[in-house]
Amino acid sequence: MFDPLLLLFFAPLIAAFFLFAMVKVSSKWTKAFAAICSMVPLFILILTPKLLGRSYDVLWFKPLSIHFNLSIDSLTLIFLYLTALITPIAIITGPIKNLSHPNIFYGFILFLQALLIGFFSTKDLALFTIFWEAMLIPLYFIINIWGGKNRQFAAMQFLLYMIAGSALLVFAVIALYFAASSFNFDELAKLSSTMPYAGWYFFIFLVAFAVKTPLFPFHGWLIDTYCEAPKTATILLAALLSKAGIYGVIRILMGIFPLYMQMASPYVVCLAVIGVLYGALAALAEIDMKRLIAYSSFSHVNFIFAALFVWNGYALAGGLFQVVTHSIVIAALFIIVGYLIDWLKTSDMQLTGGLARKIPAVCWLTLFFIMANVSLPGTANFVGELLVLFGVFQMSWWVAAILGLSVIVSATYALRFQRKVFFGQEGVATVSSGIIDVRLTYFAVIAPLVIATLWLGIYPRPLLELIEPVVKQIHLIDLLEH
């Protein structure tokens, strides 16, 4: 029988190559095919019994003993669910009209999905590195070919930041291999602290992950990239790619260098807190909707970074919970903003206003996600934020105080966004009367995100059950009392 793990990785990959070859197919059918193929991993995840703990391992590149390894533990599963859920949604929101070479566009997105799945599920450090860097290629192409006006600059800047960030990654990987004679995470986890120069290797990995997520001083690429990328790619970047960095922190830094992680904690938390405030304040001053959401996303991923580095079990659990909720909410917000920009033909908030009367349903949906973004109780984000603040408070009350303060700022910019766009005087840029308020595809895209947000907000236990073993392994605490 064909291993479902292999199918998980190869189904999108093969579909991507199929799409590259589908030259003469209309863009509508191309998109439909891509959307269906991208849902395959989700079905596999849901339908396969006993997926947890499964693994597949084969020696792939003998001279370096690189194994093609896919294995699933609970940490992996969280990120796999995210990938499997967000990618189809991103594809469905993708364009049909005015899209040159749709087969290549959607092919790259499926390729990216396959790479993400591989990245989240491999236990081999060399393969991990390969997937890590390989993700840049489809994104580079997507931004460069299908992006906005300034796309070439943005794509180049994005890629160079990423490559420079992980320039010495290969050095650290080889050094670890030299010490452990293996690329397997479990083997590597055994030696770290005794190794010479381990601090430097920790630093190299940290920089690589910090650039991709991005942590505070490494965010130079973020705004241009998010704004120039096509809608679909922005969703993937904000919801999944930023999480790749966070996954790296948990998997590599916590798994292999726990000691150094604790040593670095004060510095990184400090940077992350600055990032949280900087992002929130920048969003407060922003007049461009897409940039506003981008800064908001930046602020929130820094929040997660702080949660991970505070070195507390509850904060880690909250951080992981926020990984999921942030992905869902930021995807929804970028979808909404993407549609708004399509309809209004501008992203300048000074030109808009009073849309609530024209498109009420969109208005309330936006309000829902805006509220989720500022962690209103009842939404999933509240659970994560509460856990993080609880954990942070145990470690340092003043960090908790600052993070708590940032929530106020984020509520301010979120409500300001809502007011500028939907309420008040009708602006210069407004939707034409032909727009149907909520279309079927629009609903199909948003509905799962609404459901997920509410469900995890009211009944977070299933996700917490997945998070618990991760936390237990690192911090030895019971999250859920049985």
Partner: protein
């Protein structure tokens, strides 16, 4: 001693004999039946290369006492020569693209072109099989002399003549240095045979020799080979010659000559004398380091495609040199993987360039502007080649570099690993700059849309597919 060659010996030599005889046949055809040569010499050349490839793949070997001191019949020779023949085959196909364009020019004849190419190829194969400094020298000269002529093949281009003259004069000087170096080595240890060099050096050391002559000789040899491989500071000829020569010839130089020179490096410094002395390894490390820094920095400033590939080739030669200087037992397999990946990617890239070059004089970056909107497949194949050269995962280029760097790390050259990785960021920048131009949609209005020639398209497609294959299944012994 039995001096007559048996059938087995002839079979072992057959790849060389096939290439030589077909080269001469093409020359005869050119002399006596010009119109036939114009039409058929490409087929003859391709056929001979295919035949020689089969003969190489049969791995006949000889134990004849007249042959074995000069020529090796081992697995490495087979690998090298199969690779060189592949490069030659592709160069022939690309040559057709060029000759079709120049069909009206009286000064250019197909037969001559293929004769020169086959002769060069013969030299390459001799390098791959050499077992003595003498055969190595003959191989290098047989490779170079036809290239001096081919470099000036588009006679209407002004820079061509100057560059070819520079190439010829400096190439002659390098050859002189090579012979002089070999003489020093012979004087010091009394042999030029690769099998006995190591032991002879050991014996010399035991007898109290200080090795001054030996190492001066090696230094000169290294300089001469570095010239052929265009390693900094012996690189000056390369950008000019690449700019002035026709694209298919440049493809042959960029891959064939480069790999030939690096194979010679490997045979001398890795097979014959692995880790002979720290000084030698250090010299190679210094060469590699200087080349990495210089070539990568200068490549970022290039705007002419063939010049650009001259610098990109230099940085790859530096990587190959790193594999060689480690002296590790795995170095050969790392080197062969690097050779294959570099050959595929560079040939694929030049195949795309060959389809573009309607104006051979200034093949600037602008020539690829908007290629994606005109021919997405060609553009994607080109990008794949560039990404492979840049060494970005998951392409095989990454694996090849990773392997080399691992060996370097294990051999204690951590500083070189760090340097190589840092300069790789520059490499990523300049390859991507080229790619970015390709994806610009607002193409400049052209006089005519490029006619994509079939052989070049096939080469690009095959190179692309092969690169994907190697990336997915990099199994190697």
């Amino acid at each position: 001693m039995n001096l007559t060659l048996t059938l087995q010996d002839y079979l072992a030599l057959s790849p060389f004999l096939i290439i030589t005889s077909f080269a001469l046949l093409i020359l005869l055809l050119e002399s006596f039946a010009n119109h036939l040569a114009r039409r058929f010499s490409i087929y003859l050349a391709c056929f001979s290369i295919a035949l020689a490839f089969v003969a190489t793949a049969m791995t006949y070997s000889s134990t004849h006492p007249l042959l074995t001191p000069w020529i090796r019949f081992d697995a490495l020779k087979t690998t090298f020569n199969a690779l060189f023949l592949g490069v030659g085959f592709v160069s022939c196909l690309l040559g057709k693209v060029f000759l079709d364009k120049e069909v009206h020019s009286k000064a250019i004849s197909a037969g001559e072109y293929y004769f020169l190419l086959l002769s060069s190829l013969f030299g390459l194969m001799l390098i791959g099989a050499s077992n003595d400094f003498l055969t190595l020298f003959i191989g290098i000269e047989t490779l170079s002399i036809p290239l001096y002529i081919l470099a000036v093949y588009i006679k209407r281009v002004k820079v061509s003549g100057e560059a070819a003259l520079k190439y010829f004069l400096m190439g002659g000087l390098a050859a002189a240095f090579l012979v002089y170096g070999v003489a020093f080595v012979y004087g010091a240890v009394g042999t030029t045979n690769f099998q006995s060099l190591s032991t002879a050096y050991g014996a010399m050391k035991e007898n109290g020799g200080n090795g001054a002559y030996f190492f001066s000789g090696l230094a000169m040899i290294m300089g001469a080979l570095a010239f052929k491989a265009a390693l900094v500071p012996f690189h000056n000829w390369a950008p000019d010659v690449y700019q002035g020569a026709p694209t298919p010839v440049v493809a042959f130089m960029a891959v064939g000559t480069k790999l030939g020179a690096m194979a010679a490096f490997a045979i001398v410094f890795l097979i014959a004398m692995p880790n002979i002395d720290n000084k030698v390894s250090f010299c190679m490390a210094a060469l590699a380091a200087i080349t990495l820094v210089y070539a990568n920095f200068v490549a970022t400033r290039q705007t002419q495609l063939r010049r650009f590939f001259a610098y990109s080739g230099m940085s790859h030669a530096a990587f190959m040199l790193i594999a060689i200087l480690t002296g590790s037992s795995e170095a050969i397999s790392a080197l062969v993987l690097y050779f294959i990946v570099y050959a595929l990617a560079t040939m694929g890239a030049f195949a795309v360039l060959a389809t573009l070059g309607e104006d051979d004089e200034e093949l600037s970056f602008e020539a690829v502007r908007g290629l994606f909107s005109k021919s997405p497949f060609l553009a994607l194949a080109f990008s794949l080649c560039l990404l492979t050269l840049a060494g970005i995962p998951p392409t095989a280029g990454f694996l090849a570099k990773f392997y080399v760097l691992k060996l370097a790390y294990y051999a204690g050259y951590q500083w070189l690993v760090a340097l190589a990785l840092l300069t790789a960021v520059l490499a990523a920048f300049y390859y991507l700059r080229l790619m970015a131009i390709m994806f610009t949609v607002d193409a400049l209005p052209r006089r005519q849309s490029p006619k994509v020639s079939r052989p070049a398209f096939c080469v690009a497609a095959i190179a692309g597919l092969a690169l994907i294959y190697v990336s997915l299944f990099p199994f190697l012994g």
